[in-house]
Subunit: 214 residues, 2 copies
Amino acid sequence: MPQQERAIRTRWAILEAAGKVFDEWGYEAATIAQILAQAEVTRGALYFHFSSKEDLARGVLDTAVTTEGVLPQELKLQELVDASLLLAYRLTREPLLRASLRLSVDQRARALFGTRWPDWIEVLAELLRQAGANGETLPGVDPVQVARLLVGSWTGVQLVSDAVPQEGELVHEIAALFRLVLPAIAVPEVLPRLDVAADRPLRLMSEAGVPAPN
Amino acid sequence: MPQQERAIRTRWAILEAAGKVFDEWGYEAATIAQILAQAEVTRGALYFHFSSKEDLARGVLDTAVTTEGVLPQELKLQELVDASLLLAYRLTREPLLRASLRLSVDQRARALFGTRWPDWIEVLAELLRQAGANGETLPGVDPVQVARLLVGSWTGVQLVSDAVPQEGELVHEIAALFRLVLPAIAVPEVLPRLDVAADRPLRLMSEAGVPAPN
């Protein structure tokens, strides 16, 4: 394996390990020793990539805002739904993504590093602005206010779903959340055209030629 | 002051102090010493009421599920809205309530004590069942599923509102959340009769003769 590729893989393995430890213990209680044990790398390798626990947390948080897998759609509201469903689908499969959300919720980490919620709000607000310009949204839909509510709702539904499990995975609850809020966002002509099925992420990924994680 | 009343006040002061410390530091990093300093009581007084940090956390969590201030209404959906708005109004004024929510979100505390979300889900699901029996809800509204989504959304909107402040307080965002979801819950004849104004908690409390906190 070329040296550069190996370095990228090691960095990623360390980030994933940090994510798992932060996720289980919370930022404050997590230690570099735990992360080393989880990553199965040497102390030297870890410090080559990250100078401190703070630096590791920033690295984890930098993975939080991702629209990977979202394809351009005729309806901008569909792209908004797709971004939200894909994130739910990936979150249960990618520990790093899960950890980045957990660090936003962790009060100590939040005080130190802030959250990526403002970036997510801006991503969804921009999609809502474009949807508004296309005549897809009801009059009175304020892009920033609705984006704030969607980011908040998505986050909280994930937390409750995790703490009070039920049958079916997160993507089903996020799909149900969108069926609950879309009638107050989309105009009646657009509403029935939106695909909010829980298996949409899988179909999108196969369309994009991305191999499904599992 | 009679001795019993003094004991109740001391217990409450300790719980409020524990709430503040848990809220700021997270459960894992919080120490009894910090709680003592915050409560301004003796170590003896604290241990008379609570045997450990675990015991303090349980005491804080026990205050989490409250429908104080909710009055019986003709529409059960109005009671559901009232419970949600009142909690938002009180949360910004009562550190203990805020801390009990924060402990539910804290991953370490959650692993040790669980959360009060199942109780909240049951409170809202029961109101939705009654609303359904009264013909207030649309066909297809599943009380437990919608209650889960509402508890999740409420929690996450509070988190994001706290982390990414904007003008106006939490109760305005929770009111906006309900305006977003109610069209998919209430039948068209009931929807315009629901009062989802942000000043409703204040009016309810004055109606009940409760002095407003501030």
